[in-house]
């Protein structure tokens, strides 16, 4: 394809600048984002088997719920009934709420004992997946703006740069695309290989990346957009309508049985299963029920499920993210829910999750390799001294990428050990992540990117290996308080940790070769630390 030279030149600059400014933020977002695909497996793995109370048999949820209403009147305001295996049958927040970000949320879990009496326990919300999700949405940037974390807005801005980088990358790749798309030219040297694989991954997953960029901008700046829209709408309402809802306070005894709610949901969304029901404001004038429903066969709007909103007393359905012609969402609902689903990868069941996991890691690779290409272009091939900016960028790239990976690996490695103490585990996760991250960053800047990349990869692999070693410890010493994996999801996490450790070791081997035996006129070169060298330095 023929594109004029100055357009190519312009967009090459655009690509370089947008890429280099947003790349590292996006790396963290994508690496953590890939892991969020297995969020519920991670939580399952990270919580002791006795954390969730016994699920009650189908049909007993009603009795449990009524008991909770009388014994804990708080639950009238907000309570969730879960039908999932391995989850407490009912739970409600003791402190905090599902909205917002807080480290010391506490949750009441309740179930029925063998005598049919209600037993309840207050527990800290241990969610390792929450740390991952926090990093995914904010890249770990500390601080809050309004009702959201500052990092969310920073990633929103990064998403702008990311979209522009995608468009500009495609534009200046177009002329050579056809002939070099599937070419991975290993023989032409490392830099060519990085460039080819950068292009291959970028083009192959382009639709995914476009969707992610658009959705992230919307997630970050929807308030601004609604403000803009309200100007356009004039005196027309954005939401709601002119008809006034009847404000009726219902008696809690008038609450229909759960089976009636189930029947109504089945009728509205055939083929879906109810995962949980959240009741809110049951004693107030605006009672509501949001029903989480799942189906592996269709695109789901939420990260883990679809929604259906209904009136808990009249069973009137307000709306649903399932757009199957039962409601009046129109084509609009279909488009909007598709955007959500395509971001969360919540379609296609396990296969879809794996695909998104791989594409997420692919995205992280895209940003990392982009930085390497930038560095390689600026390399002074005739002298060993490299420019300050090159060194800085190399240290930053290795420090941030390895640092975030090491931080996450550290939280996984220590997670089960942390449950042995009495501290707030979510705060502990944060301390571990940030201390490892900043230690890595410091290490990269003091030792230099070349040497630190070897050490960092060793540390990363070692932390990953601690995960299965911890389980072996638990197996050997059953009384030590360390539980062993007991579900497919648990074993998946353990296998994943081993996989990451192997990948880290493999990368380490190659990095070592590059660092010690590669071209000397490069930031990636340094001498082996042997006694001979160090004594020569001392002399």
């Amino acid at each position: 394809m023929k594109i004029s030279a100055d357009i190519l030149r312009t967009y090459q600059s655009v690509h370089t600048w947008t890429g280099i400014t947003a790349g590292l933020l996006l790396f963290i977002g994508f690496f953590a984002g890939a892991l969020t695909m297995f969020g519920s497996a991670i939580d399952d793995w990270a919580t002791p088997p006795d954390y969730q109370l016994m699920q009650v048999p189908q049909g007993q949820h009603d009795a449990l719920l009524r008991k909770a209403f009388t014994e804990h009147p708080d639950t009238l305001k907000n309570i969730t009934i879960s039908f999932e295996e391995g989850s407490s049958p009912i739970y409600w927040y003791g402190r905090g709420s599902a909205r917002g970000f807080s480290l010391d949320d506490q949750m009441w879990h309740a179930t029925l004992d063998t005598q049919g009496q209600l037993v309840s326990e207050l527990r800290h919300v241990n969610e390792l997946s929450m740390l991952i999700d926090y990093l995914h949405r904010s890249a770990g940037i500390i601080g809050e703006i309004g009702h959201d974390q500052a990092g969310v807005y920073v990633l929103g801005i990064a998403a702008f740069l990311y979209f522009i980088a995608l468009v500009s990358g495609v534009i200046f790749l177009l002329p050579s695309l056809v002939k070099s798309f599937f070419a991975l030219r290993k023989e032409k040297g490392a830099s060519r290989f990085w460039l080819d694989s950068h292009n291959l991954v970028g083009i192959a997953s382009l639709p995914f990346h476009i969707i992610i960029a658009i959705t992230v901008v919307v997630f970050s700046f929807h308030d601004l957009f609604y403000d803009g829209l309200s100007q356009v709408y004039g005196n027309k309402p954005l939401f709601g309508g002119d008809e006034h809802h009847q404000e009726v306070r219902y008696d809690i005894n008038a609450l229909p049985n759960l089976s009636e709610i189930q029947k109504r949901v089945e009728q509205y969304a055939p083929g879906y299963e109810i995962k949980s029901i959240n009741f809110r404001g049951l004693s107030g004038k605006h009672p509501s029920a949001s029903v989480a429903i799942v189906s592996d066969d269709s695109l789901m709007r939420g990260p883990h499920n679809d929604f259906l909103f209904m009136h808990p007393f009249t069973l009137e359905i307000d709306t649903s993210s399932v757009t199957n012609g039962q409601g009046e969402q129109g084509v609009w609902g279909t488009v909007v829910t598709t955007f959500f689903g395509l971001h969360f990868g919540s379609y296609g069941g396990e296969l879809g999750r794996w695909l998104y996991f791989i594409m997420g890691l692919g995205g992280a690779f895209l940003f990392y390799s982009g930085n390497l290409i930038w560095l390689e272009k600026r390399r002074k091939k005739q002298q060993s001294a490299q420019s300050k900016s090159s060194k800085f960028m190399a240290n930053l790239t290795v420090g941030v990428c390895l640092g975030s990976a090491i931080g996450i690996a550290g939280a996984f490695a220590l997670s089960k050990w942390l449950t042995l103490g009495t501290w707030n585990i979510n705060v502990a996760y944060m301390w571990i992540y940030y201390s490892l991250f900043f230690a890595a960053l410091t290490g990269a800047f003091t030792l230099g990117a070349a040497r630190f990349s070897i050490i960092g990869l060793y540390v990363f692999s070692a932390l990953c290996l601690i995960v299965p070693l911890t389980s072996l410890w638990g197996l050997a010493l059953p009384n030590a308080g360390i539980w062993v994996p007991n579900s497919l999801a648990d074993f998946g996490i353990e296998a994943g940790a081993i996989g990451f450790a192997l990948a880290g070791m493999l990368a380490c081997k190659r990095v070592k070769h590059r660092v010690y035996h590669g071209e000397e006129n490069s930031i990636w070169y340094c001498q082996k630390l042997t006694s001979k060298v160090s004594s020569a330095h001392l002399a």
Binding site: V167, I214, F225, G228, L229, V232, F239, W332, G333
Partner: protein, 104 residues
């Protein structure tokens, strides 16, 4: 015409700001016209549920339009041209929206 005049000038800052500011206003303007005159528009009697999703749809489409404008703003030869075109179109669409708001 001198050869150099046909070439794209960098003008990074002025083009970028044209894409961000004028581009945003233009996106809002385009979506505004669609919101008023398009199917299930603001003048039509629609159910609360339809409105819930239509408004979300309107909000969502601002972003792809804005990002597309922002990505291709560097194709303008100069920053001034970018501002004139995008600013002009933004003004036009917003005037149309203002008229629709007043008339309908």
């Amino acid at each position: 015409m001198a050869r150099n005049e046909g070439k794209i000038q960098p003008h990074w800052w002025s083009k970028t700001f044209a894409g961000i500011i004028a581009g945003f206003l233009l996106s809002i303007g385009i979506v505004g016209i669609f919101a008023w005159l398009g199917p299930d528009g603001l003048t039509q009697p629609i159910s609360e549920e339809t409105r819930l999703w239509k408004t979300q749809f309107n909000m969502w489409v601002i972003t792809p339009i804005w990002l597309t404008i922002l990505s291709f703003v560097y194709l303008f030869r100069t920053g001034v041209q970018a501002w004139c075109w995008l600013g002009g179109l933004a003004t036009l669409t917003i005037v149309i929206v203002a008229c629709l708001r007043g008339l309908l």
